[in-house]
């Protein structure tokens, strides 16, 4: 917190009340006031509790977290090679890739109707017909199965934080999840 160096500090011999006294009503009121004041002066982000609850839920799924593949300046190239359909995608379309071991997951996000996002995904492994779950804070997950080419989609997802989980059987390495992404 901010110190104000212009005001000389009060010495122990200048106190109006003895520091040895147990907390009294005034102390409690001061502390309550302090909690209120510090909450206004340094508020935590309004959605931090919601995000923390979501993070804890995802952590409880015990899926290994995939890494986002950084594509410096290569996004357009990936997009065009990923799918010809991407050429027709609206300007807002975003492609993100994730990897974990030998699994690569690529998703394309495009704006649907107001407030909704279409998620098209592609799992690149030899036998990719896994179940994919879409998790969002405060809601039950939705599920879909990837086809034999590893393609899947969630046609209309509301905006906001989300995470995808690919349900691989334990023999294939167990479930993996994306970090939380903002749709």
């Amino acid at each position: 917190m901010d110190l104000n160096p212009r005001v000389p500090e009060i010495g122990d011999d200048e106190l109006d009340v003895s520091p040895a006294e147990p907390l009294d009503e005034t102390d409690r009121a001061l502390l309550a006031g302090l909690a209120r004041v510090t909450g206004r002066m340094d508020p935590m982000p309004a959605d931090l509790i919601e995000r923390s609850l979501f993070a804890a839920t995802l952590a409880g799924l015990e899926a290994e977290v995939m890494e986002v593949v950084q594509l410096p300046g290569a996004l357009a190239g990936v997009r065009s090679s990923a799918s010809a359909a991407a050429e027709d995608a609206p300007a807002e379309a975003r492609t993100i890739s994730f990897t974990h071991g030998d699994l690569t997951l690529m998703i394309q996000l495009s704006r649907e109707r107001a407030g909704q996002v279409r998620v098209d995904g592609w799992i690149a492994v030899p036998t990719p017909s896994y179940t994919v779950e879409l998790h969002r804070p405060g809601t039950e997950p939705t599920r879909t199965d990837a086809d034999e080419d590893g393609r899947f989609s969630f046609p209309a997802v509301p905006h906001g934080p989300a995470s995808l989980i690919v349900r691989r059987p334990a023999a294939d390495g167990g479930p993996v999840s994306t970090p939380v992404i903002e749709l």
Partner: protein, 214 residues
Amino acid sequence: MTPSSDVPSGPESCPAPGATLGERAAHALLEYRAGRPAALDALIREASRLLWATARSQGASYDDAADIVQNTWMQLVRNADRIDEPRAVLKWLLTTVRRAAWDAVRKDRAEARVRTVMSDDDVAGRASAVPDPAPQPDAEVLADERDRLLWQAFGTLPERCQQLLHLVSLADRPDYRMISEAIGMPVGSIGATRGRCLAKLRTEFVRSGGGAWT
């Protein structure tokens, strides 16, 4: 163990009335281990602000502090079965936050040094070299005159006092061991320090015209 909607929600035990935050945290962990995540959700709602304040008091930036709070809850879940002493879970949370905040501050400083060295614009470089240790007090936010005076009085206290009182104010039944873990103050000295800090705040507040606070 993975709590999910498949797990039947059994009768939930409650922590004893008058339990401290540390006791509620221990209860939440045991409940979670038993497949009932509701108490952990309640703990996240209750204690996130304390974790936030702890990260901020160690100098973490706004964004870093938010990430640290989130990651700490994730780590608690991932380590739920490995925490040997459930009664110490609050200590574990606060220690995790404090270490993560130190790491974040160190990283910010190192990056700021790099920026300073590389920056052509010396003034901008110097500005970015200063980490963001605390919110800029903009007392406009405080509509109530007495809140403003209290904030001013708080600002005159030594930094140690500010940290201690801030954390004490965020736990409804402060327990000294917890605060000791949060700010690294020897547990034996906290009672006396709390008394001295609070007496200073009170004296300063009255002196500045705040009057009696009741």
